[in-house]
């Protein structure tokens, strides 16, 4: 932290910067010392800042030949002991999926920033869309848990990048920061807190070397992670393996043990992982539920609605995965109607409906134009109709 201050890499207080720059600064503050990248819009500014900042703090910036090798080198770096990150957008995120599964399987801490753009395929690179919510959850093959966070502001790009690293290191898992072109490219003022007040989590490593006693995988309370070169003789494989890393690809008991333990490692700590931001919930009969860039419009609307005498609550999902089931079910029991806002054709809304069941009425509202966020007037108009339905 001292170097960061003395090198003037970051200054506490009010800063004015772009979301992607805030993400790079957050990563540096979190202790990220390895960043691999392949150029893609709208994530390029993260690399611009990382390539400048990392050498100043003794870290590594490397531009790889594609997104596959970017995430692969990130995983390798993590086993060599570094906190490591990569950033990309839709097409690159698709290419990374197989290795994200590898990172889950081998319990490798790392952070993947997906600055979402309009898809499908090449789509419209500079415009925002929230099309990758399900890709973040189920993009890799097989059955696995994942953590994904959704920033709504430049300040979030700073703080949630740090949070992403903390969760990755704490639970030995890849964590996805699901940003979008709007939050990534937006320039606004951001309060950088006193660096000493920011909590940074360091991964648990084996305490002492006990010959022949090693269990570095599949612990519901997170196994210690050996660093390559520290004489723990780690055997890291993405084949189905046991607690010691030995593979077994014949017996379904091993599959069951592995998949359940990977899940339990996250599920048991849901309370620590899942974060939901709420406002004006008291006496609210209708709630606007959103996340990421779209939450900015929702926040604007609830103030406007209050002036019109409408009691509208605000719920913003900071954590998208694991899905905030408990928080949303509790909410549904208190309110009559939930309007879900997303810049897509409806992804999170399906999860909300699954959780809510018959407890409340759920309505989905995409923006008037996909690739833009909802205009407040457009939300208000639909909201009035929904309230009176």
């Amino acid at each position: 932290m001292k170097t960061l201050l003395s090198e003037k890499i970051i200054e506490s207080g009010t800063n004015f910067m772009m979301g992607n720059e805030a993400c790079a600064l957050g990563a540096i503050v979190a202790g990220c010392r390895f960043f691999a990248f392949y150029p893609i819009t709208p994530a390029n500014e993260i690399a611009l800042h990382m390539s400048t900042l990392l050498p100043k703090v003794g870290g590594i910036y490397i531009q790889m030949e594609d997104e596959i090798s970017s995430i692969a080198s990130v995983v390798g770096s993590s086993w060599a002991g570094s906190k490591a990150m990569t950033a990309t957008s839709g097409p690159g995120f698709s290419l990374m999926q197989e290795t994200i599964g590898y990172a889950v399987m081998t319990e490798t801490p790392c952070v993947i920033v997906d600055v979402q753009r309009c898809g499908p395929s090449t789509g419209t690179p500079p415009l925002p869309m929230q099309g990758d919510v399900y890709q973040a959850r189920h993009g890799s093959h097989g059955e696995y848990p994942i953590i994904a966070l959704a920033p709504s502001s430049v300040g979030d790009m700073f703080l949630l990048t740090i949070e992403a690293f903390n969760l990755a290191e704490k639970y030995r898992t890849p964590v996805i920061l699901l940003s979008d072109a709007l939050v990534g490219h937006m320039v606004e003022s951001v309060e950088i807190p006193d660096l000493s007040s920011i909590k940074i989590f360091e991964r648990k490593t084996p305490e002492k070397h006990v010959e022949d006693e090693f269990s570095f995988f599949l612990n519901e309370n997170v196994a210690p992670m050996p660093k390559f070169g520290s004489n723990y003789k780690a055997h890291v494989t993405a084949s189905t393996h046991d607690e010691r890393g030995f593979r077994n690809v014949e017996n379904p008991n091993f599959v069951d043990n592995l998949v359940r333990k990977l899940y339990l490692k996250i599920q048991r700590h849901n309370k620590d992982i899942v974060k939901v931001e709420t406002k004006n919930l008291d006496e609210a009969e209708v709630v606007l539920l959103s996340y990421g860039s779209v939450a900015r419009s929702a926040k604007h609307v609830i103030n406007q609605a209050r002036q019109e005498g409408l009691n509208i609550g605000y719920v913003r999902l900071v954590t998208l995965w694991p899905f905030p089931d408990d928080e949303i079910l509790n909410l549904a029991r208190k309110v009559d109607k939930i309007m879900v806002l997303e810049n897509n054709m409806g992804q999170v809304v399906n999860e909300v409906k699954r959780v809510v069941g018959c407890e409340a009425e759920v309505k989905f509202l995409p923006p008037r134009l996909l690739g833009t966020i909802h205009e407040p007037a457009y939300i208000m108009e639909n909201l009035r109709r929904f309230v009176n339905e």
Partner: protein
């Protein structure tokens, strides 16, 4: 098997509970594993400061889980990319990649040329048996022209890569090819590659009696080894020969051994300059 009956190299370098190689009888991988361990033993390297990275395919089982040090058994085609992250983050580790002709030249071909271009200080051992062994004998980018395989029942229309020429052109410091018959030369080149600055690439032409053997009608490993010997040609002789004369021959020896600054060394210099 009791401890006393173990080969001294196995006793010293094999992981407990994984002392047997998983390969088919007659496979060249055992020869290559032994050559690697001999090279390490003769150089008296600190095994605990070595990291072995492999991909998917028969060759990737050489270090995993057999070698009793840090082993990163990765996904198909990408071991060089994973290894790049390991080496950059801790240049003090000696990083060795085991890959095959499918893993390293087909799905991972792009990473191979870029690792060579970056000249990162990694030793890559590519075992070329000219066929996909594990998946049942499909055609590879190294399969000879005209050959029948599981998926070229009418003969292979394509031509194989010359991987050593490819990696040399891409910028590696050290490029060499041997066969599993040339064990002495192979150990010596592995020693050179382990100490060399920059990207070192050793292609080992190897026998697959099960799959390749099936399609050429020779399933005797010893006969296949002799075939490898007889079709080999030293690079010094090959230089003055025409393409027709080289048809069907395996050119062996050092393709290149040059001094080029390795990537982690260059990066260290950059760090010193930026932080000064």
């Amino acid at each position: 098997m009791s401890e006393t009956q173990l080969h001294p190299l196995i006793a010293k370098y094999a992981r407990k509970g994984a002392q047997r190689q998983p390969h088919c009888a007659g496979c060249g991988n055992g020869i290559i594993a032994q050559c690697m361990l001999r090279a390490i033993e003769e150089l008296d390297l600190d095994f605990g400061k070595m990291v072995f990275v492999s991909g998917i395919g028969c060759s990737s089982w050489i270090p995993s889980p057999f070698f009793n040090t840090d082993v990163l058994h990765t996904i198909h085609g990408r071991p060089l990319a994973f290894a790049t992250g390991v080496k950059l983050s801790n240049p003090d580790l000696r990083v060795v990649v085991f890959t095959g002709d499918g893993d390293g030249a087909a799905i991972g071909g792009n990473h191979l040329i870029h690792a060579a271009r970056k000249n990162i200080e990694i030793l890559a051992i590519l075992i070329n048996n000219r066929i996909y062994g594990m998946t049942g004998g499909q055609v590879a980018p190294t399969t000879p022209h005209g050959m029948k395989t599981r998926t070229t029942p009418y003969g292979n229309l394509e031509y194989p890569f010359d991987l050593c020429k490819l990696v040399e052109a891409a910028g590696a410091s050290y490029v060499v090819r041997w066969t599993t018959f040339h064990v002495k030369q192979l150990v010596s080149s592995m020693k050179r590659g382990l100490l060399k600055e920059g990207f070192s690439f050793i292609e080992v032409m190897s026998q697959c009696p099960v799959q390749y053997g099936r399609f050429i009608g020779i399933r005797d490993p010893a006969k296949m080894l002799l075939m490898l010997r007889d079709s080999s040609l030293p690079i010094s002789k090959a230089k003055s020969m025409s393409e027709e004369e080289l048809e069907g021959r395996i050119v062996v020896g050092e393709f290149v051994d040059r001094e080029r600054v390795g990537l982690t060394k260059a990066y260290k210099k950059l760090l010193n300059e930026v932080q000064a």
